[in-house]
């Protein structure tokens, strides 16, 4: 009885460290610029985009892995599915560019 109860727990412990839970990171868009890009982003994490400008912007990955259209003073979320160095830009203001590093 007791062994039967402990067994699943032991199995869990033996399975090794559980993959870190997905986290949420913030990127602020202000004054026609993407703010500092977060470090330590992993595939499966969420980016919360906060547009502080009075202008509409997008955050669009050049590899197509994410794109979000943000109304003035709005915010939104995207999930970064793939690992890699992902350059992104604003479709409306193509001079606005940055690179997001995503680990596996």
């Amino acid at each position: 009885m007791r062994a039967a109860l402990l067994l699943p727990i032991a199995a869990l412990l033996l399975a090794g460290p559980v993959a870190a839970a997905p986290r949420t990171h913030v990127v602020v868009i202000d004054q026609m610029r993407f703010g500092p890009v977060p470090q330590g982003v992993r595939a499966g994490d969420t980016i919360r985009w906060i547009n502080r400008d009075i202008f509409r912007h997008t955050a669009t990955a050049r590899n197509g892995s994410f794109s979000i259209d943000l109304a003035p003073r709005a915010q939104g979320r995207t999930v970064v599915a793939k690992a890699g160095k992902i350059p992104f830009y604003c479709k409306y203001h193509p001079g606005m560019t940055a690179v997001l590093g995503v680990a596996k």
Partner: protein, 179 residues
């Protein structure tokens, strides 16, 4: 084509530089006042919105239309913020020779562009946009921002300059692509 686009630019630049010198309405060396600066900035936005509406009426090029839509959206946003600010500050924008010269020049540009169609129109519109933003940015940087007294007005003009520099670069890039 290029020759044609340089002339209006020179005129816009001359009109804006006249503001810098405070001529012809005011004494030489006199900087524009905040109510005049607000009027000039607002007028410059209105002009670009009108140019964009003309492009949306005439152009069939998706890229050009996208750019024109961006101009309408962004310049309207700045002008709404400008109106909110002058209301808050209880400032009445003051008409002035620079605003009048800009409007006069814009009407001439509109007529010139109205005579063009298709690719010729698209090219002329983008060339004009690049040149117009360049002239306005020069005036903002050299005259309007340094001359503005109110901190909130100065801040809005600085935001405008960042936006319009992006517009200028975007227009230059698209103009080069269309050649």
């Amino acid at each position: 084509m290029i020759q044609k686009s340089i002339f209006p630019v020179a005129s816009v630049a001359a009109a804006l530089l006249a503001a810098a010198a405070g001529t012809p309405a005011a004494a030489v060396g006199e900087a524009p006042t905040d109510p005049q600066i607000a009027h000039i900035a607002y007028t410059a936005g209105v002009i670009d919105i009108a140019a964009a509406r003309q492009a949306l009426a005439k152009s069939k090029n998706a890229t050009v239309r996208g750019f024109a839509q961006e101009m309408v959206r962004d310049h309207e946003a700045v002008n709404v913020a400008a109106l909110d600010l002058v209301k808050k500050l209880k400032v009445t924008p003051a008409d002035n020779p620079t605003s009048a010269a800009l409007t006069k020049q814009a009407k001439a540009d509109e007529r010139r562009l109205a005579a063009l169609n298709g690719r010729a129109f698209d090219r002329a519109y983008l060339a004009n946009e690049a040149a117009y933003h360049k002239a306005v940015n020069g005036a903002l940087d050299k005259t309007l921002i340094p001359s503005s007294d109110n901190a909130e007005l100065k801040s809005l003009l600085q935001t405008g300059l960042k936006l319009f520099r992006e517009h200028q670069a975007h227009a230059e890039h698209l103009a080069a692509e269309l050649k």
